[in-house]
Amino acid sequence: MQLYGQEVASRLLVGTALYPSPAVMEAAIRASGAGIVTVSVRREAAGGRAGDAFWRIIQGLGVKVLPNTAGCRTVKEAVATAELARELFGTPWIKLEVVGDDETLQPDVVGLVEAAGILLRDGFEVFPYTTEDLTVAQRLVEAGCRVVMPWASPIGSGQGITNRAALRTLRQRLPEVTLIVDAGLGAPSHAADAMELGYDGVLLNTAVAKADDPVAMARAFALAVEAGRVGHEAGLMPARDFATPSTPVVGTPFWHAAG
């Protein structure tokens, strides 16, 4: 898949948070086969080395990083955080999050479009985390986003795709845009579901990190993403309201027309 002109082999992107330990995180990321991981930018305590320790592990994985603006509630905060991320990680990529509602972590789509415009004009390559709303996605694309990342359901909820019709519409209306389902996926089948809908990739964190066995779950998601993608490319049969027999009717033994 193409992300701002860069070819990425895996269609699975994973987060680096919430794992039971750094060692499990490292093993799970390797098992996922992901080529891109999300990271954040946070204040370091005086004399602290937590950031260095984490960064060494990520560097050892040889993956690309996609820094986020998680926790930002205003355009100003998100833009300033993106600038810190670019300075720190040396990448123009930014997963842009502007939180609109504390309870659902629903993106503030108005602020998102505004922040995306500012950052794109400043040379960033923006990966906006948004809702399934078509016109918001269109505004993001008009602003210059070449990747759009709608949610499946709220972050960390594990509900899977709750508005299938809208996600299908988004895919149909934005065929040229790289679309990644980000947030809300709880099971490998949810990831396969997104890929079967024709999404280019999926981004998830909690479903792997909070599994009983994160490493095994990472592999399960990798398989599901691949299965869903191959299934999509193979062309799914259209769903029908009624049964149609798969076994030929002609030649059925003991069959006779009347009585």
Partner: protein, 65 residues
């Protein structure tokens, strides 16, 4: 002078970022710095002068989703 570092009051002796980081125990870390919400690129750390009351952010990579 008194400045704010990561939201907390801090008393510092040096106005230049490299010395200030060393003073606060951040030396050698993989980090980014902003003063009054403006990024100070690493290449410019020695040029910028911090003044009384400035708000300094010192950040590092962290786990994220």
């Amino acid at each position: 002078m008194v400045v704010t570092v990561n939201g907390e009051r801090a008393e510092i002796g040096s106005a230049r970022i490299p010395e200030l980081l060393a003073e606060l125990g951040y030396e050698g870390g993989f980090l980014a710095v902003a003063v009054n919400r403006e990024i100070v690129r690493r290449a410019r750390w020695a040029e910028v002068e911090v003044t009384e009351g400035d708000e300094i952010e010192i950040v590092t990579p962290r786990q994220g989703g």
